[in-house]
Every structure is written in structure tokens, then in C-alpha cells.
């Protein structure tokens, strides 16, 4: 039956909504949609195993962990924090906006793996952002510190996504070109890439404005006595 494989989608949605551990939910969804499509157990196992190992490249980021771990043991995060706190005039929003612009430009050049959550956000950007937020006044509360970290991670994601699509020789643009060419429409990769520019600029402007507002709200909340908790992040 045509609609039955959608059962897999339902398993994912329900599993995530009920906050089960995501890994078994995802595997169960794969098995459910395989069974619903009338595949045998053997076929489903092979499909699952083959799809899994062919995406091994997604685990490459773990190779950064030993080097980052050794540096953290010797105080990398503490030093990044100390150093930024000596730089007068480097506010949280200036730091994050500069990182956002740099990340977008690097991604536009195809250098998507140069930065990332494991490579740059945990060891460098997050501690630097915390220090920049602490420039004026007392240390961050636990909630404020978590907000700053989450915003740093978000900035990395946005810089990556809305730069990548402007690069012609990799990923998104080639996928779009390949899809159309399968359907008899031949396009120049450059044309596809150029039409990603307006969105790239809009992404920079929108997130930069939000970063400034976030910095201001944080500063305002910190002007008040410590007993008053800041509002939850948006």
C-alpha cells in the first residue's frame, strides 16, 4: 500500500515527542518503514547496515577530540577566557558577528570543514564569547553562561548553512544541478550559486541584528541584582 511507509515518519515524530532516546527511535523508524514497504527482515538489516556505513564520514569530527582534550587539560579554555577579558572593546556581539562573517566567507570558498562545533566552537569560540560577555561586571550566572554557549553554537550553524550554498564545486549546488540534469534541464552551477547570495546577505543581517539584541539583553539583565533571574532565551 502506497501510504504505509509513512509509518516510519510517524514513529520518528512520536518517539521525539515522547522524548525517548533518539538513537533507538530512529532505528525503529527505519525498521517500521521497511516492514511497511513489505521488505523481509534480511533486506531491512542489509539496508540499515549499508546505509549506516556509507555515511561514516559524519564521524570524522571525533578525531579532533584527543588534541582538543590534551589542550583543555592544560587550560586551553581558561586561557582563551583570560585573553579575551584583557581585550577592551571586544564585546560579545562584535566577537560573534566577526565569527559569523568569517564562517560564511570560508563556507562560500568551500572550506566548510575548517571550522565547526568540535573544531572551533567548544575549544575557542564558546570560552571567548563567555569572556567577552563578562567584560563588564560580575561573572555570568549558570543560565547566562548556557545562553551564551548556545548562541555561539547557533552562530556557527547559521554561518555554515548560509555560506555553503554559494560555493559552486561541492554539495548543495552540485546536487541541484545533478537533479535538474536527470530531469532534462541543463544549468550552469554558477547561476544556481549566485541566486544564493541574497539569502546569504539576509542571513548575515538578520543574525547580526539578533546578536546585538542578545548582547544588549544580556548586559541589561546583568545590571540588575543577581537574585533576579534573566528571562529564558527566546
Amino acid at each position: 500500500m502506497h501510504w504505509l511507509p509513512l509509518l516510519g515518519v510517524a514513529v520518528v515524530v512520536i518517539g521525539f515527542a515522547l522524548r525517548f532516546n533518539p538513537v533507538p527511535v530512529v532505528v525503529a523508524a527505519g525498521i517500521a518503514s521497511g516492514l511497511a514497504a513489505g521488505k523481509s527482515i534480511g533486506e531491512i538489516l542489509a539496508l540499515l547496515g549499508q546505509s549506516f556505513v556509507s555515511e561514516r564520514a559524519l564521524l570524522l569530527f571525533v578525531l579532533t577530540l584527543p588534541a582538543i582534550g590534551v589542550l583543555e587539560r592544560a587550560g586551553l579554555r581558561e586561557h582563551a577566557r583570560n585573553w579575551i577579558s584583557t581585550l577592551r572593546g571586544l564585546t560579545l556581539s562584535r566577537l560573534l558577528i566577526a565569527y559569523l562573517g568569517l564562517r560564511q566567507i570560508l563556507s562560500m570558498l568551500g572550506l566548510t570543514n575548517v571550522a565547526g562545533q568540535a573544531q572551533t566552537v567548544r575549544p575557542l569560540l564558546a570560552p571567548m564569547a563567555e569572556a567577552a560577555a563578562e567584560q563588564r561586571g560580575q561573572p555570568l550566572s549558570r543560565d547566562e553562561r548556557n545562553d551564551v554557549r548556545a548562541f555561539s553554537a547557533a552562530t556557527d550553524n547559521i554561518g555554515l548553512f548560509f555560506g555553503e550554498d554559494v560555493f559552486i564545486a561541492l554539495g548543495a549546488v552540485l546536487l541541484i544541478q545533478g537533479f535538474y540534469s536527470q530531469h532534462g534541464i541543463e544549468l550552469e552551477p554558477l547561476h544556481i550559486a549566485l541566486w544564493a547570495l541574497p539569502t546569504a546577505i539576509a542571513a548575515f543581517v538578520i543574525h547580526a541584528v539578533r546578536t546585538v539584541l542578545f548582547g544588549r539583553r544580556l548586559a541589561r539583565g546583568r545590571g540588575k541584582p543577581a537574585t533576579e533571574t534573566t528571562q529564558a532565551a527566546d
Binding site: 531491512i44 540499515l48 571525533v62 582534550g69 587539560r73 592544560a74 587550560g75 550553524n157
Partner: protein, 322 residues
């Protein structure tokens, strides 16, 4: 020649080392989890080669491995592992200063150099880097060089590399695995026809004669499907074949280059909303030790929502004009 396969062997070696350390600490579930994953990563090439000649047993065993990982995941408590105490770290930070940045910056720097110039390092027919996936091979090489530099700068024993790497790996726990599992689900969904069912559903629900309704259905369909799959690349062929091509391009005369580009970017807005995009939205929650599973999504969804509106407007005003 350095190939991406060598990077996979390195990962398998590191995971096996982490499994061994957990075994010594009698953390059985963690040990089993990393060991199974090490075997899957190390043996991946063999599984794919066997499947290519329709020898399905290795792939089926890999599938059983994936199910074993799923069964072990809920037992992977994400406890904060003992770290060197803060006073000692502060003292080291004072003593070493900027020298600590060197190895950390080597990771992006070496990756960049390999990406830009790796193709030039050749002697006759022999090339240092395999041209397929050169940037990722460069990333792996950069990690090794950075580890050596980090050990040299901090004068730590080489065993510290494994011990500290394992500390971070256990902090990640099952979150490290989720991107891979979701990508595998994408493969299963594609093979079982989930895509065509979704696009039929979209076409049943909208008035196809209105260009605006088609633009909105295509854009929101990309977002919805990306939210479910965690990946705009998986959503693009499904929605463009189901809605974009027949309704917008053929029926309403939209420009395919603009539609494709903006359609993909609209899907990226969806990536900002979904826990299914685990490598972007869940892995950093673990890496930064944030309390809430959706903290990163909460920080970024407003940017995504504003951009979604911008993208839909751009699409409506540009695709029929050029």
C-alpha cells in the same frame, strides 16, 4: 597516498582505545558501544564492497551492529567525567599562554592548506592526497598533527591523548552516533518510497492553479520534510520532483536555477528547527554541556523563521520574473 579510508582506520583505532579504557573502569555498556562502533567504522569498506557484488551477509551483520548500538544507547549516561582540577589548569594556562592556541589553530589551518594546495603535492604520478574527499582527509591529518603539537607544547604523555579524547567522547555519548543513524534512516526512507508518499500528500492538499499556493507549498514542504529527515539534501529531490518541477516550473513557468537555489536554502531554515539535524543541533548540546536537549535550537529558531519569510518572498518575486 593518504586516503579517507586511513582516516576511518584512525577513528576505529581511537574508538577501540576508548572502549578499552571503559572496560578497565568496568563501564561495560560504554565499552561495548564504542567497540561495536569501531568495528563498523573500520570494516565499512569491506561491507560496501561486499554489497556491491550482492553479497549481503556483511551488510546484514552491520545492520545487527546498528541495532545493538541502538539498544546500548539508553544505557549511555552522560555523566561529567573527572577532569583535572581547575587550579592546576589555571596554573598551566598562565605558564603556557598563547602557546596553547597554536595546536588548536593547527586543525583549521592544516585543513585549509590541504584543501587549497593538497592537489599540488605530487611526484610524477604519485600524489600525497587522494583527490576524492581531500578536505576531509586533510581534516584527519590536521587532527594528528595538532595532537602531536599539543603533546609537545603541554609536555603531556602520549597516553593523555587517548585518555582526554575518551573523556570528551564519553561526554558526547550516544549524541556522537545520532548523525550517522539519521543518515542511515534517510537511506532506508528513500528505498521504501516515503518520499513519493509525502509529495502526493502535498499535492492533494493545495489549490495547484495558484502560483502563490504552489510557492508556499514547495517552501513549507521543504521545511517540513527537512525537519522530519534532519537534512535538506534528502528533502530536495523529493519535493522538487513532486511539487517544484511539475507545478512551479512546468505549469507556472518558474526559473529552475532560482527555484532550486532558494528551495534548498528554504530547507536549510528547517535544519535550524529540528533535533533530527543532530550533528548541528544535538552534538553541540553535548559538546558544550548544555542542560536542555533543544538549547541550540532555541537560540537559533528565530533567525531561521525570519529567513524563511525572506526566502518565500524572494522565491515568489524572483522565480516568475527571470
Amino acid at each position: 597516498m593518504l586516503k579517507i579510508e586511513h582516516a576511518y582506520w584512525l577513528i576505529a583505532l581511537f574508538l577501540a582505545g576508548a572502549a578499552w579504557l571503559n572496560l578497565r573502569d568496568r563501564r561495560w555498556s560504554h565499552a561495548a558501544f564504542w567497540l561495536v562502533l569501531a568495528v563498523l567504522i573500520g570494516g565499512g569498506k569491506y561491507v560496501l564492497a561486499a554489497s556491491a557484488v550482492h553479497h549481503e551477509l556483511p551488510a546484514q551483520l552491520a545492520g545487527i551492529g546498528v541495532i545493538a548500538l541502538a539498544a546500548l544507547s539508553p544505557r549511555m549516561r552522560r555523566g561529567h567525567l573527572v577532569e583535572r582540577d581547575e587550579a592546576a589548569r589555571m596554573a598551566d594556562a598562565q605558564r603556557l599562554g598563547h602557546r596553547l592556541f597554536g595546536p588548536a589553530v593547527l586543525i583549521p589551518l592544516v585543513t585549509l592548506l590541504v584543501a587549497l594546495f593538497g592537489g599540488w603535492v605530487a611526484f610524477g604520478d604519485w600524489r600525497l592526497f587522494d583527490p576524492t574527499r581531500m578536505t576531509l582527509t586533510g581534516l584527519a591529518l590536521a587532527c594528528v598533527i595538532a595532537l602531536i603539537a599539543a603533546l609537545w607544547v603541554t609536555r603531556a604523555r602520549p597516553a593523555a591523548g587517548l585518555a582526554e579524547g575518551r573523556r570528551l567522547l564519553d561526554t558526547l555519548g550516544w549524541a556522537a552516533l545520532l548523525p550517522l543513524t539519521l543518515a542511515a534512516l534517510g537511506g532506508v526512507f528513500a528505498a521504501t518510497g516515503v518520499g513519493s508518499a509525502v509529495s502526493d500528500l502535498v499535492r492533494m492538499l493545495i489549490p495547484v492553479n495558484s502560483a502563490l499556493a504552489c510557492v508556499i507549498a514547495y517552501g513549507l514542504g521543504m521545511v517540513l520534510f527537512t525537519v522530519i529527515m534532519g537534512n535538506a539534501f534528502a528533502a530536495f529531490p523529493v519535493l522538487t520532483a513532486g511539487v517544484g518541477l511539475p507545478l512551479l516550473i512546468q505549469m507556472h513557468g518558474a526559473n529552475p536555477a532560482i527555484l532550486g537555489s532558494l528551495g534548498m536554502l528554504t530547507g536549510y531554515c528547517g535544519t535550524l528547527f529540528t533535533p533530527m539535524a543532530a550533528n548541528f543541533n544535538i552534538v553541540p548540546v553535548a559538546l558544550l554541556e548544555l542542560p536542555g536537549q533543544n538549547d541550540v535550537i532555541r537560540a537559533q529558531w528565530k533567525t531561521g523563521a525570519a529567513l524563511l519569510v525572506v526566502n518565500l518572498a524572494l522565491m515568489y518575486f524572483l522565480v516568475f520574473r527571470f
